[in-house]
């Protein structure tokens, strides 16, 4: 009961409501614009959060996360281009349905299922995050090391793209985290005599580079692409018949999305694909999928928004990000001096439940904005790239510079922009780099501290039951793609 009142606190704070309002609005705009999205948007907005108190800052970031994930559906349905990668599966049925003159119905279903998925995942977050945090009290350094390794291997098994390429990208991310002074011995590593590098490479220049700048380069190769926009009169709430047809799909996808979200991987993107394929598998009319099935939209959208709350579970309870956007949120927490983990639940419950409550409100807010304003948000896609991207570049440069007021950070951002472009061109996902970068210090630190505890005996890891469990799960995660390959893939 006390927790419930803490959760409702943002409703009575005009400041938090204002932050939620703008966060949701900004998130929707970011979600609608192809190539941007909550991860890039969160990274760009991070410097601005320095003017806010920690709770408002994280509330802003989580509102962007929730609304941005939904916003991708608007573009997916109206112009057949997912605003965010998580909305890719929504295109499959959303656009065909819109072409049949039912864009309003498609958007209405996407809005309702996203909201249900989002709210469902917040409930999961409220119940499971404290439980996981309690469990984390049992964790020592070896357990955290094993957990971080499990998180990284999960990228190989359920991440988007080739498992081996994901592992290379993850290892690359960890390697970046080793640049600078070794945090245990103060020995310089990969600094090449450059003073600025001795403090290491910041998270923001890498994220903005890998997401925003690499996307700018990608857009430069797509200038001849013409978007065909379907006309939208108004968003329609689903009919009773639609609800009857989809309620099971929405609930199933909400569960799938929340579960996938908890696993450290690519969050919403993978969740929506699995949610969609499961919707097709359980559907009475699977032949309609890909031709404008309302169940397809519901399956994909409920799952990707459900992944938002799920991904926040390990982020808050363990300090292990469940997705690229939660890695940005985790950075926001660290910048504002909040250390995620079990102690946070004990010492600052009002902070945590404030976030939970805000996520709940954000889900309701994007429902209202989406329902009444989808037509306006859709118009944002009319801003031509030749105007939009130079503007995003200006914000990226100033935002990256602002965090440590270092021009080197801006150059690092551009460098990673070019690397990110070529990575994506050759099928390497950039998300594992982000996860690897944020987990790098944890992996190395816990490994070295464990070895101190074990007096250098590596086999001692196997004597710790929790660590051993995570190692076994890691092996399974690594072998899973081999089994998956042999199975008949469900064509979507």
């Amino acid at each position: 009961m006390e927790n419930l009142s803490l959760m409702m606190a943002p409703l009575f704070s005009s400041k938090l409501l204002l932050v939620l309002f703008f966060g949701t609005l900004f998130g929707l705009i970011l979600g609608v614009l192809p190539g941007l999205g909550p991860t890039t948007g969160g990274a760009l907005i991070l410097p601005f959060t320095m003017t806010l108190d920690p709770l408002s800052a994280i509330v802003l970031l989580t509102a962007i996360y929730c609304a941005g994930t939904y916003g991708g559906a608007i573009t997916a349905i109206l112009i057949n281009t997912p605003g965010t990668p998580a909305a890719a599966a929504t295109c499959l049925d959303g656009y065909p349905l819109a072409q049949k003159g039912e864009a309003g119905r498609a958007l209405g279903m996407a809005t309702v299922s996203s909201t249900v998925g989002g709210i469902f995942s917040v409930i999961v977050l409220v119940f499971f995050a404290p439980m996981l945090a309690k469990l984390a009290y049992e964790f020592g350094q070896p357990e955290y090391f094993a957990l971080a390794i499990f998180g990284l291997t999960m990228l190989a098994s359920i991440g988007d793209g080739s498992p081996i390429k994901n592992l290379i990208a993850g290892a690359f991310g960890i390697l970046i985290s080793t640049i600078g002074k070794d945090f245990m011995t103060s020995i310089d590593r990969f600094t090449y005599g450059i003073n600025e590098l001795s403090v290491g490479i910041g998270f923001i220049p890498v994220v903005v580079g890998l997401f925003a700048i690499s996307e700018m380069l990608t857009q430069s190769t797509l200038l001849d692409k013409v978007f065909k926009r379907v006309a939208l009169k108004a968003v329609r709430l689903p009919s009773l018949k639609d609800y009857k047809l989809t309620w099971k799909t929405i609930l199933r996808s909400s569960g799938i999305g929340s579960f996938i979200g908890v696993l450290p991987a690519e969050g919403g993107t993978v969740a929506s694909l699995i949610g969609y394929s499961e919707a097709k598998r359980w559907s009475k009319k699977p032949e309609e999928f890909g031709k404008g099935s309302i169940e397809g939209i519901a399956g994909a959208e409920a799952a990707n928004n459900a992944a938002t709350g799920g991904a926040m579970v390990p982020t808050l309870a363990l300090g292990i990000p469940g997705s690229a956007t939660t890695a940005v949120i985790l950075t926001g927490l660290i910048i504002h001096g909040v250390r995620p983990g079990p102690d946070l639940f004990k010492e600052q419950p009002e902070f945590l439940y404030g976030i939970f409550g805000s996520m709940l409100i954000a889900n309701i807010l994007f429902f209202i904005f989406g329902f009444f304003g989808a037509k306006i948000f859709a118009r944002i896609t009319l801003v031509p790239n030749k105007i939009l991207w130079p503007m995003i570049f200006a914000i990226s440069v100033c935002g990256t510079y602002s965090l440590s007021q270092s021009i080197i950070d801006v150059w690092i951002m551009l460098f990673f922009g070019v690397i990110g472009f070529f990575m994506r061109r050759y099928g390497f996902s950039v998300v594992p780099v982000i996860i690897g970068l944020i987990l790098g210090e944890l992996v190395e630190g816990t490994l070295r501290q464990s070895l101190v505890i074990f007096e250098g005996n590596w086999l001692m890891f196997l004597t710790r039951p929790i660590a051993l469990t995570f190692f076994v799960l890691s092996v399974i995660a690594l072998l899973f793609p081999l089994f998956k390959k042999k199975q008949n893939k469900i064509k979507i």
Binding site: P47, F48, M50, T51, S162, I164, K165, L167, I168, A171, F172, I174, L175, T178, D182, M184, T185, I187, D188, R189, F190, Y192, M216, L217, S220, T221, L223, D224, P384, N385, K386, I387, W389, P390, M391, F393, A394, I395, V397, C398, Y401, S402, Q405, I407, V410, W411, L414, G417, V418, R425, Y426, G427, E444, L447, R448, Q449, S450, L451, V452, G456
Partner: protein, 168 residues
């Protein structure tokens, strides 16, 4: 003929070192080897200060992992060639060059000027020819961003010919 066979046939005519799979794998392995060599130059900590492992050990292990995995992806690409990517258009190279120009101008002349130059070059070569919009994104928008960061976040931009005028 399926796509894999088509891809194999298309790739057969090229010597292996022209194939994208080889070029990408070669670059990753080459850079990793250079970095691996660098790790041998890291200072060695005396045993009493050593925390579990030497500071160079962890990066070394990562680089060996990256090299090994890259060898595997190259080996797999022989069996199943990668999808051939389209040639990069002129606009990509112009955008890339404008990044280099940005670095040079921001280092030598002015940060604000560098943003304006990049904006106008990118926008123009991406197809914007209207003077009003070019001015809007190269002058008006960077100015708003600049003033916003300066006043709201209290940010001090690096000195330069234009920034100095503003600060003075």
């Amino acid at each position: 003929m399926n796509n894999v066979q088509k891809q194999k046939r298309a790739n057969k005519s090229l010597p292996f070192f022209f194939k994208e799979e080889f070029k990408v794998s070669f670059i990753i392995i080459f850079v990793s080897i250079i970095l691996l060599i660098t790790t041998f130059t890291f200072d060695i900590v005396p045993p009493i200060l050593n925390r579990g492992i030497q500071p160079a050990t962890f990066p070394k292990a990562l680089l060996v992992l990256i090299i090994s995995l890259t060898v595997i992806i190259y080996y797999l690409s022989i069996k199943k060639p990668w999808k051939k990517e389209k040639k990069l258009p002129k606009e990509f190279y112009i955008t890339l060059l404008s990044f280099i120009l940005f670095i040079l101008i921001s280092k030598i002349l002015d940060f604000f000027l560098a943003i304006s130059c990049l904006s106008i070059i990118v926008s123009h070569y991406w197809g914007e020819k209207r003077i009003f919009y070019l001015l809007l994104i190269s002058l008006f928008f960077p100015l708003i961003v600049f003033i916003f960061f300066e006043t709201i976040l209290g940010l001090r931009f690096p000195p330069g010919i234009i920034t100095n005028i503003y600060y003075n």
